[in-house]
């Protein structure tokens, strides 16, 4: 009880406090720079996303924030604790769900939960109630005596999350938690995350799914270890220096080929019968350019200026970097 009350107090006090902050965070593995000079300011109670392709440094950054990896340069504080020097204190306060399923596959669901509750040295009474509560909340009661290795993807994910929040951490790190899960389970999973955030837990989640990133309160886009943009999905859409036009054409293929001739267009992506055309904001009359090009090619199409979604943002911020183009 005492623990709960203090947690709620902390949440109130820390409502707009920065709980995760990093400056110049970098990590090298030999000659490879996995994370390069990343700055972060994450306020309490938010769901913060790391969006980026594989190898963009998401996992490495999370591991550094958990205190599992020592930064090569820069520093990070989580809950005001230095991740280099105070990682042992930090471990009581954070939960970490690894990218790979890391529970004991030869133990049952119940045994795994009990084991972790003992490792966190919760009181006997708290262990019992907390484990029972999580089994109920995460709908694992039918799998209690099943070995963790034989669970389905969704069940494994639920168990892993239950284990990660067993000790009521104030901060939760989730490394690509939904990569092996079907859409239904993903939706349920995100509902749990929103519940946790509403209770005051700060959640840092990495993903390479755009739709998942769009659910975050705020996110950072990582590309080859560099943070190329950050902000809320809305802010990110506004911030890019590109206009987005949606082209719905009878013959999208032909439309794409004709638009590709235009030097001013920086990117064309086909989505079924529609195209998303990105044109730099400093090119005047973008809409005009698209319609006239299509008319010239004899393609019948409707063109509309739309608000950039995260995929547009992602394309814009990764392609505007010289390395991005080279890759």
């Amino acid at each position: 009880m005492v623990c709960r009350c203090r947690q709620i107090l902390n949440n109130m006090k820390a409502a707009n406090d920065i709980v995760i902050s990093a400056t110049g965070l970098s990590r090298r593995f030999g000659s490879l720079v996995a994370v390069n000079n990343v700055d972060l300011q994450i306020p309490a109670g938010t769901i913060y996303g790391f969006l980026g392709p594989n190898g963009s440094g998401k996992s490495t950054t999370i591991r550094m924030l958990c205190g599992l990896l020592t930064p090569s340069a820069g520093s990070a504080t989580v809950m005001g604790l230095d991740t280099r020097k105070q990682s042992e204190v930090l471990k009581q306060k954070i939960g970490y769900m690894t990218q790979r399923f890391s529970l004991f596959e030869d133990l049952t669901v119940a045994e795994n939960l009990r084991f972790i509750s003992e490792v966190y040295a919760l009181s006997r009474k708290r262990r019992k109630t907390r484990v029972a509560q999580l089994i109920e909340e995460f709908n694992l009661s039918k799998q209690l005596k099943q070995r963790a290795g034989t669970l389905s993807g969704g069940q494994k994910q639920r168990l892993a999350l239950a284990v990660a929040i067993l000790h009521d951490p104030q901060i939760l790190f989730l490394d690509e938690p939904t990569s092996a899960v079907d859409p239904k389970n993903r939706r349920d999973f995100w509902e749990i995350l929103f519940d946790l955030a509403a209770q005051g837990t700060t959640i840092l989640v990495s993903t390479h799914y755009m739709d998942e990133a769009a659910r975050c309160h705020s996110l950072a886009i990582l590309d080859q270890g560099v943070k190329v943009a950050d902000g809320s999905p809305m802010q990110l859409g506004e911030s890019i220096s590109l206009n987005v036009f949606e082209v719905v054409a009878e013959d999208p293929n032909k439309a794409r080929i004709s638009l590709a001739q235009q030097q001013a267009i920086s990117s064309i992506t086909q989505l079924g019968v529609s195209l998303r055309v990105l044109i730099p904001k400093d090119v005047e009359g973008g809409l005009q350019l698209v319609t006239s090009t299509l008319a010239h090619a004899g393609v019948h199409a409707e063109v509309e200026k739309v608000f950039p979604d995260l995929e547009d943002v992602f394309v814009a911020v990764t392609e505007s970097r010289p390395e991005g183009i080279a890759a």
């Binding site: 990682s87 790979r100 004991f104 133990l107 003992e118 284990v163």
Partner: protein, 366 residues
């Protein structure tokens, strides 16, 4: 208090995993039994039933009696009688016999006059053990039923065989085997313990919890100590029933000495586990420890007969000290107090290994 909860949590988890890992579980009981049968029955240095043939050119009552006596010793098994020494040599050449007995035609006269050897033994000396047996045979007295003479000469030295009057190899093998089996299984179990969790991804979860390194190490060692002691009990029980090897000293001393030895081996295994990257490397490292232990510890060959540099290496191996202790207690009924130096050496080894393992283990991934 929290530490205890965590140590017990790890212990319980190790036991649960062990009980579900049938192969490892089988190894705990299987290795001691198989090794005991192998070493106890097959490896036997008190040789009997060596194939032999003889040529009896004298063919007198005395010579026939002599050959019959040799056969009755059971050391040799006389397969056939041949006509000439040349035939004996041929049998030796083709490997049909290990020992050939040549009785010359003037056998009776030579026995009575005692001016030179009466019989020639042709021995396959490629195996030193057979050569040793032949030397024993040469000391066999010849009984004179016809002439009741007193024994003409008395040996200069009398041999009194302490602790093992029947000269059974099992007496030496069984206690030695306890150490070999414990080295084999204990080092291996903990050597793979941490790398296995690293390979399966469990370690990334564990090191992100507040568990402390000594708690993790202790939680992993204690279950195997119990298993090790179980193996000791199995080996001595089987040794007692099958090979009639009884513990002369105190059983408590046996368990105490075994406990320290097991802990030393487990610590060494943990240290290996923190040094290697894969389970396969861990197994190789475990065998790298096992081989010199078997060869240098005095299990196979007497310690005192080894060159000084080999003895120096042997003194570092826990098995060397354990062999002295366990043979002392089991075979000679010695008191643990009289061998405190070896016990201390094991304790020091354990402390150094576990300290290094704890220092080597990092709760970080870099």
């Amino acid at each position: 208090m929290n530490s205890l909860i965590r140590i017990f949590a790890i212990m319980k988890k190790e036991f649960l995993q062990l009980s579900r890992d049938r192969l490892t579980f089988g190894m705990i009981v299987g290795i001691p039994l198989i090794q005991l049968m192998m070493f106890g029955y097959a490896i036997n240095t008190d040789v009997r039933n060596l194939s032999a043939a003889y040529v009896d050119e004298a063919d007198t009552h005395l010579s026939r009696q002599f050959v019959a006596d040799l056969g009755a010793s059971q050391v040799i098994n006389i397969k056939q009688r041949v006509a000439s020494v040349q035939e004996l040599e041929q049998l030796l050449d083709v490997g049909l016999i290990s020992i050939g007995i040549a009785v010359p035609d003037d056998f009776d006269r030579r026995v009575i006059e005692r001016d030179r050897q009466a019989v020639q033994l042709l021995v396959d000396g490629t195996d030193p053990i057979i050569l040793g047996v032949a030397q024993q045979l040469s000391a066999l007295p010849v009984r004179f039923d016809t002439q009741a003479l007193p024994s003409p000469s008395v040996n200069l030295m009398e041999v009194r065989n302490f602790y093992n009057p029947e000269r059974r190899t099992a007496v030496n093998i069984v206690p030695g085997l306890v150490g070999v089996i414990l080295t084999m299984t204990m080092v291996l179990f903990t050597a793979v313990a941490i790398v296995r969790e690293k390979e399966r991804g469990n370690l990334e979860l564990l090191i992100n919890t507040p568990i402390k390194t000594p708690e993790l190490m202790l939680g992993k060692i204690v279950p195997y100590i119990i298993i090790g002691l179980l193996q000791v009990v199995i080996i001595f029980t089987v040794g007692c029933y099958l090979f009639k090897v009884f513990i002369r000293g105190s059983e408590l001393d046996v368990l105490t000495v075994s406990l320290v030895f097991i802990a030393a081996n487990l610590s060494l295994g943990l240290l290996i586990s923190t040094l290697v990257q894969t389970q396969f490397q861990a197994m190789q490292a475990a065998f790298f420890v096992l081989l010199p232990s078997i060869l240098l510890s005095g299990f196979m060959f007497p310690f005192d007969g080894m060159p000084v540099f080999a003895q120096t290496i042997a003194e570092v191996l826990p098995l060397t000290h354990f062999n002295r202790l366990i043979r002392g207690i089991v075979l000679r009924g010695a008191d643990i107090d009289s061998m405190w130096e070896d016990l201390l050496a094991l304790g020091v080894f354990m402390l150094v290994a576990i300290t290094l393992a704890i220092a080597r283990f990092s709760k970080r991934l870099d």
